[in-house]
Subunit: 306 residues, 2 copies
């Protein structure tokens, strides 16, 4: 296979890739369609669901190219059964997301939105502002993949006492002073908790009702991973008690009713999924996306996830 | 001297100190006045000017207690001439301010105010958001006192290439990989610049017209120090070119016309002076403030600045 016949693009539009990238993609296919087309042998998707029905509707499909890291949106097993290769883009946004985590923590701690607002209205008294330092606080990272590791390193730079939980022990991080803790101990003792697990059957609901109830008073939890990791009814109850703060992005992947209900709590801060949007990550992402296509066409697929 | 006769409080009100702190201060004086009083032998001030006229209006004055680090507001020479001891509170807010610097940098880079706004309005598309990573960028710290040092360390945690300029070389920081650069080289090559100098005759206007003009395109400059360090007319001109970003706090100490003019530029972000307001720093500040009083009364003044 040297070229695709037809690429079907779903879940994003032209603006998601630079013009130069489209030019490079055009060289790898006879045509590109943004409307449903049965002839497609290649499917692009991002955060949209690629389920059995969609896969079965494309009888010539050979390849699914994800313009994202997360693979939870694709029925990987069904794709494998039909001999369709699925490739994702791992790690392209590691730094962007890790830095974003500290952005949203500090924005919250220092009440920066309100600070900008009062300053714009000429109030420079600073009255009513108070913050908490990261230095010396206990900072827990759940999941020590690429992003989790960088979050742990940056937290250490702030002088936090950093600990982690991960399915596997990471000795190289422990040697840097990042200590391992069992999940329940981490959750009940940390001042800051940042979630960095992939979503799969083992991690679904991992932040269970019991664990949410055990969160330390005043804890600040950041979830840049899918909200499927979190028991949402328990989270709502705990938010109502008004003794924790929960910060999330990726609301676009959530049940809109949950988003609406969570957004009623002042201590639940909801962002659009913008953690990964650095210029540096955009360049890297597109390069990997194309490289995945080229490698598949050359019969040596990389970043295959099924 | 075991007690003051009368403390005159200027520049702040009761809410600036905790009740417990007032109780402790009450034990060190016969009375406290918030209104002008000629009998005062002790003067409290914060960011307000304590000039020759005010000093001369208090013939019994022995002690000026600053509820702040900066001493530029007090006529120290005149106070010394009249044998008045002036004490400040150094370093109490080091961590708070250093963390705040990264808060305002990341808030700006990730456009968090707008992100919260669009999310509140149900727009989770993330469209139009883009950011720049700190990792790998050149981060210059001007002035390597307590706060500057912490800013340099945290920037290193983010993976920036950190350099500094300071009147004196700081070998212990250079050993940690923070490299020295001449001021003009630092200013013309850094992506981020954070100013941490005290204001005095040597540092006034140190960010001169020439240096402001030499700032790299796209540079982000943060000034948590007094704006007297900056040539404001040159800054306005450069902001008008719209190729740098300038972030400042302490507008309360500035000429209101300058504040108004600077606030017209979207690339000038003005905050109230809230960098120092952590709970941790508030506790430490009050303890040092009282300790300064006690030590002066015990004839062994500490944190004397004149």
């Amino acid at each position: 296979m040297t070229k695709f016949k037809k690429i079907l693009v779903t879940g994003f539009d032209k603006s998601a890739l630079d013009e130069d990238t489209w030019t490079r993609i055009n060289k790898l296919t006879n045509s590109i369609s943004f409307k449903p087309s049965k002839e497609a042998d290649c499917l692009f998707s991002r955060f949209n669901r690629v389920d059995k029905v969609l896969i079965d509707s494309l009888p010539n499909l050979k390849y699914i190219g994800l313009l994202a890291t997360g693979t939870g949106t694709v029925d990987l097993i069904h794709a494998k059964k039909k001999n369709i290769t699925v490739c994702n883009i791992p790690g392209y946004a590691t730094e962007s997301v890790a830095e974003w985590v500290f952005g949203v923590i500090l924005e919250h701690l220092h009440d920066l939105e309100r600070a900008k607002y009062v300053a714009r209205n000429g109030d420079f008294s600073g009255s009513g502002f108070s913050t908490m330092e990261i230095l010396g606080k206990k900072f827990g990272v759940i999941g020590l993949g690429r992003i989790g590791k960088r979050v742990a390193e940056i937290a250490a730079g702030f002088g936090a006492k950093v600990c982690y939980w991960s399915r596997n022990r990471k000795k190289e991080m422990e040697n840097k002073g990042i200590s391992y803790e069992p999940l329940d101990a981490l959750i009940s003792t940390c001042d800051f908790i940042s979630l960095h697990l992939l979503y799969n059957k083992d991690t679904a609901d991992i932040l269970s009702e019991k664990l949410i109830n055990s969160l330390k008073k005043g804890a600040i939890v950041i979830n840049v991973a899918p909200m499927e990791l979190v028991n949402i009814p328990a989270l709502k109850k705990r938010l109502k008690q008004n003794d924790i703060t929960f910060i999330l992005d990726h609301p676009d992947e959530m049940n809109p009713i949950d988003v609406k209900q969570l957004s009623r709590y002042k201590n639940c801060i909801i962002y659009p999924p913008i953690g990964y949007v650095s210029k540096e990550s955009r360049v890297l992402k597109q390069n990997i996306f194309i490289s995945n296509l080229e490698n598949f066409l050359g019969n040596k697929p990389i970043n295959k996830v099924n």
